[in-house]
């Protein structure tokens, strides 16, 4: 007796790639703007990046309907936090909240692969990387989504992250300058676009630093 299986799935994969890099006093969060389904393109101009707080930006690839729901839940929770504490949430606090929110749906997960980027309370860049059910880690850089397997080895080579097992703990943030990091991100996406069919059209780059927030858009191959 084989078990009957559903003839539909509640999930879909809209593709796309997200990257974030932490610097000594800045953070770069980037995501391509292509939204796909199957072998088709739904739109070339969809933002996967959401501002959760003044110093926390989340980029998510995966099933965009779940991503949108997740963004709304976190935004509402942030409003509640602001009412109760009279200040914005710090990036590490938001990181924990995101983890808890994802695990809350452990048995019907948000199909979202997230990268949270921002500045911690000391002004240093911080990047947190997640799986679909909330397992997370603070890292110096991360890539998620369909192009992650193409980008991560490249970043490993360029950013030479120290092992997290080292004692004393070495800082994972890159010594690169802000401009160099932005250029590196553009290179990552240009490369991923070549071989990943779900990545392309354009990349939206958010740069957070002490002075505020800046946004850049770079065109990518549209095939």
């Amino acid at each position: 007796m084989t078990k009957e299986h559903a003839n539909w799935s509640p999930y879909d994969n809209n593709g796309g790639t997200c990257v974030a890099i932490a610097g000594a006093d800045y953070c770069v969060i980037a995501a391509d703007t292509r939204m796909s389904t199957g072998y088709s393109i739904l739109t070339r101009d969809y933002s996967k990046i959401c501002k959760l707080a003044d110093k926390s930006y989340m980029a998510s690839s995966g099933f965009q309907a779940d991503v949108k729901a997740l963004q709304k839940v976190l935004s509402s929770r942030h409003l509640i936090y602001q009412h109760q504490h009279n200040k914005q949430m710090s990036c590490p606090a938001m990181a924990q909240l995101l983890s808890n929110t994802l695990y809350y749906k452990r048995f019907f997960p948000y199909y979202a692969f997230n990268v949270l980027g921002g500045l911690d309370s000391e002004g240093k860049g911080c990047v947190f990387t997640y799986d679909a059910v909330g397992s997370y880690e603070r890292v110096g850089y991360s890539a998620q989504g369909s192009g992650a397997t193409l980008i991560t080895p490249f970043l490993d080579n360029q950013l030479k992250s120290p092992s997290p097992l080292l004692l004393p703990a070495k800082d994972a943030v890159t010594p690169l300058s802000e401009a160099e990091a932005v250029d590196l991100v553009k290179t990552c996406f240009a490369s991923a676009t070549e071989r990943d069919i779900y990545t392309g059209d354009s990349v939206e780059i958010i740069i957070l630093n002490a002075k505020g927030v800046r946004s850049e858009t770079e065109q990518l191959r549209k095939d």
Partner: protein
């Protein structure tokens, strides 16, 4: 108010058709320190008197931001006010989550009023002992509402609640016809003048009052102490007359310093500084 045999329960009517517990709740509002609100076509200003219990303690918060477009000032049992503000914030967040647009002020006050009404019809509850001045902006313009413990609510051009609010009300009654066309700054000045009426001769400084503004292009925000003190200094030095319109304000600015006591006494003579 007098004690009688019909006032123990909120669910007991008196022979004259009154619910005394509800009326006693409204008394609690009248005992609280004053809060006033006034609006123009584009802005709403809330102001309240902050009395600290002692020099050692901090002031009680009487003005709460509910959402970017709504704020509330309370008078009466501030604990009840805090709880109701939390309810209002929650409603705004849920509405924003579902409809991705700001909750219309009129809807919020009805929900608040219905919540208050429930407490007038359950024997195991008591009415909320707080009056709320809800200031907000939505598609239909600027609004100021007053929510009673009884579950009633009314829309106002300007209103004052709490102790010695009659003095402020009298001042507002004189000025309210000009409010719809007032500028934001004139509204704030009028609010400060109205607050001063309730202080009955006590010196108006930024440490005894709080001002908040919401308007077109301006999210609800509470003005900081320095700004308020600067505004107070401005009109105390330039003369005692409240700005009725732009030219009068300029004229008052050009006047020589008038003795504050004299003018204060003159203003008091016009107003009827009586408690309710």
């Amino acid at each position: 108010m007098f004690r009688n045999q019909y006032d123990t329960d909120v669910t007991t009517w008196s022979p004259a058709g009154r619910l005394f517990q509800v009326e006693y709740a409204m008394e609690a509002v009248k005992q609280g320190s004053a809060a006033i609100g006034l609006r123009s076509k584009t802005h709403v200003v809330l102001a309240c008197v902050n009395k600290a219990n002692s020099e050692l303690s901090s002031h009680q918060r009487k003005i709460f931001k509910v959402d970017d477009h709504i704020g509330v000032a309370i008078a009466g049992l501030t604990a009840d006010g805090r709880v109701l503000s939390r309810y209002m914030r929650s409603e705004c967040i849920n509405y924003g989550y579902t409809y991705e647009s700001p909750l219309p002020v009129g809807r919020l006050v009805v929900q608040l009023a219905d919540k208050a009404q429930v407490c007038t019809q359950r024997s195991w509850k008591r009415p909320y002992g707080v009056g709320l001045l809800v200031a907000g902006l939505d598609e239909s313009g600027a609004h100021l509402y007053y929510n009673c413990p009884s579950g009633n609510y009314f829309e106002y051009q300007a209103f004052a609640i709490g102790s010695r609010s009659q003095a402020a009300k009298t001042y507002l009654e004189r000025k309210f016809e000009k409010f719809p066309e007032s500028s934001r700054d004139d509204l704030v000045k009028d609010a400060l003048f109205a607050i001063r009426e309730t202080l009955q001769g006590e010196k108006l400084t930024s440490s005894v009052c709080t001002i908040a503004v919401v308007g077109v292009g301006e999210a609800f925000n509470i003005l900081d102490q320095e700004t308020v003190q600067a505004l107070i200094n401005e009109f105390e030095i330039s003369g005692e007359e409240a700005p009725t319109n732009e030219s009068a304000a300029e004229q008052a600015g050009g006047d020589a310093d008038s003795a504050p006591d004299q003018s204060g006494a003159a203003a008091e003579g016009e107003a009827a500084p009586m408690d309710i």
